[in-house]
């Protein structure tokens, strides 16, 4: 019962984080800052949803597969983010930087 509640909390928090990340990629001003918003949905959102599903599955083969999906995402998403940012930098896309320290409104 407690496990059930915990899993629903994780699943809902994951879903909400996904939507917030989705809002983020529309609010932020340039490509590099949007990458951070996409990073939210790739890390904690995915972790919470997979963890919540794992709690539902219990100690089964399904939980092992969820753990594998988690491991793959854990290792591939930073690589993909780095490759994207690196390619964008080398193609000459300039990041909007906050030079005067007053902050940029998202």
């Amino acid at each position: 019962m407690i496990i059930d509640i915990l899993s629903w909390v994780c699943l809902f928090a994951g879903g909400l984080l996904g939507i917030v990340g989705g809002i983020g990629i529309h609010r932020f001003p340039d490509f590099y800052s949007r990458l951070h918003a996409a990073g939210i949905t790739d890390t904690l959102c995915a972790m919470l949803i997979l963890f919540g599903l794992g709690l539902q599955a219990g100690f089964t083969l399904a939980a092992f597969k969820l753990a594998l999906i988690f491991v793959f995402l854990f290792f591939t998403t930073p690589t993909a983010s780095h490759a994207l940012a690196n390619a964008a930098l080398h193609s000459g896309l300039k990041p909007t930087l906050d030079m005067d320290g007053r902050g940029v409104r998202p």
């Binding site: 809902f12 996904g18 939507i19 990629i25 990458l35 996409a38 790739d42 949803i49 793959f72 490759a83």
Partner: protein
């Protein structure tokens, strides 16, 4: 309950798709498609539990790998304009 989570994931996918359509740069589009792919993996995983057939998790597993390879391949095509030359080959040619 699983339905609510899949709807939340679908909304996120819709937002990512909107970013992929509006751009403005190619890299924005690829980042959005990458995010869309990650969300697809999660959606398949949730659907596996929703429908009760956990065999769908294998598909999610494969999709996670294909999504990564696809994004890296698309990036390579965009930055180098072709698939046949690697960084080493270019250095040797120069």
């Amino acid at each position: 309950m699983f339905i609510a989570v899949s709807v939340a994931i679908l909304i996120t996918m819709g937002l990512a798709l909107a970013r992929a359509l509006t751009g403005p740069t190619t890299y924005d589009r690829i980042a959005a498609v990458n995010m869309f792919g990650t969300k697809t993996v999660l959606l398949i995983a949730v659907l596996a539990f929703l429908s009760g057939s956990t065999d769908l998790l294998d598909i999610a597993l494969v999709y996670a790998l294909i999504n990564f390879i696809g994004v890296v391949a698309a990036l390579k095509l965009v930055t180098q304009k072709n698939f046949h030359s690697s960084e080493e080959n270019r250095r040797e040619a120069e």
